[in-house]
Structures are given as structure tokens and as C-alpha cells.
Amino acid sequence: MRVEIRVGGFGGQGIVRTGLILAAAACVYGDKNAVDTASYGPESRGGKCRSEVIISDGEIDFPKVENPDILIIMSQEAYLEYVNDLKENGILLVDSDLVPNQKKDLKAKVYEIPATRIAEELGNKIVANVVMIGAFAAVTHLMDVNHLKEAIKSNVPKATIDLNLKAFERGYEYGKSLLKEN
């Protein structure tokens, strides 16, 4: 099993960190293999930003994503750029508040998560990416929740661990509620 994940948004949203958390959960805290690559512009905030993670039970020979099985999208620009790369019947998680214009006939399982809004309710929109990771965990069942939590703890500043774990739980609950609706 080889699963390709692409995360897209803009600089400052924790797109790169999201990739690192998913990869660490898989290959450091879990016993799968993982690779992670990131690409971003010279700006630290606001520029185009992408990270790609491959998770596999076996060896990962070619370490680049070709057609993602799962897309996590946190900006309109990233949506337009990557949505057509998604595999048919793949999974799309999208921060719907940030992506007002979506394709209607997309052949994918689409989960709309108002991640930035939920993060703001928790007190800081900076944890929107972790809300997305929570929703990802709930709708994909790809990874162990405890492994993800361990990876979050080791990847965020100590003072923000509680806030991030809360963000994860909220995202997870939201993801679960979407599954029930379907």
C-alpha cells in the first residue's frame, strides 16, 4: 500500500509542518515508511506553499508524489492548481471558508472543514492546520490517532501543545460528524 498525500496552501499556515507531522506519525511513532518533501517561495508568509507525503508499508522507491490519493487544501490558489491532480475517487479535505470556488463535478470524496474558523474559536487561527490533521485522521482512518498526537507534540512549541491537541480533537470530531452525514 502506497498512499500519496499533497498539502497545499500559503506560507504561514503550517503547510510544511503538516507534512512533517504526518510523516513523523507514520515512520517515527508508527512502523510505516514515509517521505516528505516541501516546496515554497522565498516569502515566509503569504507565498505559495506545498508539502507532499508518501506513506507506505513497503519501501518507498520513488519519493515524489505523482497523483495524490489525498489532497488537503487550504487556499483557493492551491485548490485551482492541484485539484485536477487528485486521483479519481480520491479524498479531498478542503478549508471551505478559504476556498469559495469549488468544482461541482469533481469525482472525489470531498470533506469541507471550516478549519480556520474552528481554530479561531479555539483562540488562534495558527492551529488551523492541526484541525485539518484531526479531520484527516477521522475521514481517512489511515493513521493511528495516538501516533498523530505524539507527532504533533514533538512538532509544535511546548507552550502550544495543549492548544494543538485541542485543535486535533475538534478537527477529529468534525471529521467524524461528516462521515455520519454521508
Binding site: 513523523a24 514515509a34 517521505v35 516528505d36 518533501t37 516541501a38 522507491d61 519519493p63
Partner: protein
């Protein structure tokens, strides 16, 4: 300093550059001089922090000429020393790389290759400095260069670079592409006692009997560091076994240059490391290194599924070039496929060794590595 801080034993998610820095520390490197450059900056960044923790020295130099000079000096003072750069800095280092070769100074130079020539593509990976690694400085000398294909190998092969550099007293290169340098993967760092580290070969004779550049049977002279109590004279001029300039003696020049080359060539079989995949019955062989070898694995597996007897020779050692091994494979297969992230470099060595066997080259420029399908297509056409 606790051992835990020195060697970060355990399982980590690391970027290739970070793993390289940790490999250097595990190998005993305690001096880093460098000038940050994309995509090698993360090595300098980590060494700046880690050298303090392990009791070493980090110097940010004014440029790469000085960086190379500084690690030569540090090595003669008895410390394992390294610098890290990318293409533009590697060019600036060439004069002093020649000095390191001529003075037989153990040192490690990491080159995280990016798109070039000139300043080229700072943030994009390439494999365009492969010939420069062997032929970059003027004159005849042989070097050792290793090409990692994973983050684990960024750790393992950096240690190996130090070991080879100390064993053969030669500047040794970790020749990684920017893709592997910036890739994040799991690294398993073993306990300190399981890490094999080669110690410098010191003179076994008292100071008055020491002849500093008189080689042993392996063609490598034992090395006394400055301050060990031995008289040592070090020069880039042609020198005799005592280390003194003898620039007008053709025989001294011949013997010296011959030994600089032969100490690597004669020991090539001990130095060279390769990895084989499904080559036993192969009719077509892919020969690749670094990131291009990762896509090649996928391509070879796909070819096998399609009923094509394909195999892969992955070059861990790029220099000395595994000529004999490539010749043997060329005798066995109908065709060879070489993907490189350049416009044709190591493929020339492959062609030389392959003789009559046709060699299909797949160039790649721009930053995106070869896709498995691109290599698969050439494999398919090669056996038609």
C-alpha cells in the same frame, strides 16, 4: 559532554542535510568551516548549533576558498574537519582541494548539488558536478566521492567519507543532489559503540626516524599531526618523501603524482561500494546514483512486471568509478540505460567501460527528477 548529546541514538524524521551533519558528528568531526549556500545551508545551520554542544568549533568563513583552507589547517592540527557547499562554492574550493590532494590531508567536502552552471538554480536539485568532483582542480590526483540515495545514507555515508578520507589521506566528497539533501525520511542512528570510526594512521617510529611522506605498502604514509612532536613540512610544491620541495626532479614528480593516483586506484576494490537489484539474469541494466536511482528502482520493477529482464546497478561510490563492475555487467546485458540529472556526465565513464554494449542516456535538467515511467520507456525501447 554526555554521549547521548554526541550521537543522537534513536529513530528520527530528518532532512538529508541534517542527517549529514549528524553523521559527521558521529564520525568524530569537531571542526566545521563553511559559507552557507542553498541547498546545503541546513548543514551549516545544524553544525553551528551542534558543534557547540559537542565541544567542537564552527567557523562561518568569508568565502569557500577560506573554508577549504581552514579545514585543511584543522585536519593537520589533528581534528576531523568538514565543509559543505553547493556548485558555486565547490568551484571556489577547487584550488585548495588540489592542495588537500597534494598534501594528502584527510578532510570531507559535502556538495549538495543544485542546477548549474554558474549560480544556476539555487533551489532546484541537479547532478551536474559529478565530473568536477574528480577533475575540478588542476593536475593529476584521484579522489573518493560517494553518492547517497536516501536520508539514512546521508548519515551513513558521511561517516564512511570520514573513514575513507582518514584511511587514504585524500579529500573525500559526499556528492549528494539537492533532492536527497532536502528530503525528509526516517533515520536510525545506532548507539555510539556500534558506529565504526577509523582512526588516523600515526607514525610507529620515533621522531628522528620519521619520514613524513614515505608510504606504507598500501601507498599511504602514516600521518603525524602538528604538535605530535614530529617534524613535518607541508607544501603544495612537488615534494620528496621528507616533504621538502624538489620541483626540478622529474623522478620525484613522477613518483609523487603516481602515488597520489595509485593509492586510490590500487585500493579501488576495497573502496568501491555498489548495490545491485535483480541483475543476475538481467538483459538490460540501469546504472544510476542518487535521486535518479530511486526512480530507477520503480522503473526496473515495472519492467519486470512487463516481462522485461531489467536490473539496476546503483553506484554508491561514484569515484573511483567502478569500471570493472560496469564492464562485467556490459558483457552480460544487451543494453545499458543511464539516467542522470545533468546533460551527460558519468554516462561517459559508463560508455568507456561498456565498450560495444549500447548505452542509452536519459538527461534531466530543470529540477524535477526523472519519473519512473520515463526510465521504463527507455528500458522498453532498449530491449526491442
Amino acid at each position: 559532554m554526555t554521549e547521548q548529546r554526541t550521537v543522537l541514538t534513536g529513530k528520527h524524521l530528518m532532512q538529508g542535510d541534517m542527517a549529514c551533519a549528524e553523521g559527521a558528528i558521529a564520525a568524530g568531526c569537531r571542526f566545521f568551516a563553511g559559507y552557507p549556500i542553498t541547498p546545503a545551508t541546513e548543514i551549516a545551520e545544524r553544525m553551528a548549533r551542534r558543534m557547540i554542544e559537542v565541544g567542537g568549533i564552527y567557523v562561518q568563513m568569508e568565502d569557500e576558498l577560506a573554508s577549504m583552507a581552514a579545514i585543511i589547517g584543522a585536519s593537520w592540527a589533528g581534528v576531523k574537519a568538514m565543509t559543505a557547499t553547493s556548485g558555486p562554492g565547490f568551484s571556489l574550493m577547487q584550488e585548495n582541494i588540489g592542495l588537500a590532494a597534494m598534501t594528502e590531508t584527510p578532510c570531507v567536502v559535502v556538495n549538495i548539488m543544485r542546477g548549474s552552471p554558474s549560480t544556476g538554480q539555487p533551489t532546484e536539485p541537479g547532478q551536474q558536478d559529478v565530473m568536477q568532483a574528480q577533475w575540478g582542480s588542476h593536475g593529476d590526483y584521484d579522489v573518493i566521492a560517494l553518492a547517497p540515495a536516501s536520508v539514512q545514507e546521508m548519515f551513513d555515508l558521511t561517516i564512511e567519507c570520514f573513514n575513507l578520507s582518514e584511511t587514504y589521506r585524500v579529500p573525500t566528497f559526499l556528492l549528494a543532489d539537492g533532492f536527497i539533501g532536502h528530503l525528509w525520511e526516517r533515520v536510525i542512528i545506532p548507539p555510539l559503540e556500534e558506529i565504526k570510526v577509523v582512526k588516523r594512521k600515526k607514525p610507529k617510529v620515533p621522531p628522528e626516524k620519521y619520514i613524513p611522506f614515505k608510504p606504507d605498502d598500501d601507498l599511504v604514509p602514516p600521518m603525524a599531526n602538528f604538535g605530535d612532536g614530529y617534524r613535518v613540512h607541508v607544501t603544495g610544491l612537488t615534494h620528496d618523501e621528507h616533504g621538502y620541495p624538489r620541483t626540478d626532479d622529474p623522478e620525484v614528480q613522477f613518483k609523487l603524482v603516481q602515488r597520489l593516483c595509485e593509492k586510490i586506484r590500487k585500493n579501488a576494490e576495497k573502496i568501491i561500494k555498489i548495490k545491485e537489484l535483480m541483475l543476475e539474469d538481467a538483459e538490460v541494466a540501469v546504472i544510476a546514483y542518487g535521486i535518479a536511482s530511486r526512480a530507477s528502482i520503480s522503473a526496473v520493477k515495472k519492467a519486470r512486471e512487463a516481462g522485461i529482464k531489467a536490473g539496476l546497478l546503483r553506484l554508491v561510490t561514484v569515484w573511483p568509478f567502478p569500471e570493472k563492475i560496469v564492464s562485467e555487467i556490459a558483457n552480460q546485458v544487451k543494453a545499458i540505460v543511464v539516467p542522470e540529472m545533468n546533460y551527460g556526465q558519468l554516462v561517459r565513464e559508463v560508455e568507456r567501460a561498456a565498450k560495444e554494449t549500447p548505452v542509452h542516456f536519459i538527461p534531466k535538467l530543470g529540477g524535477e527528477p526523472h519519473k519512473p515511467d520515463e526510465i521504463f520507456e527507455v528500458i522498453r525501447r532498449a530491449v526491442k
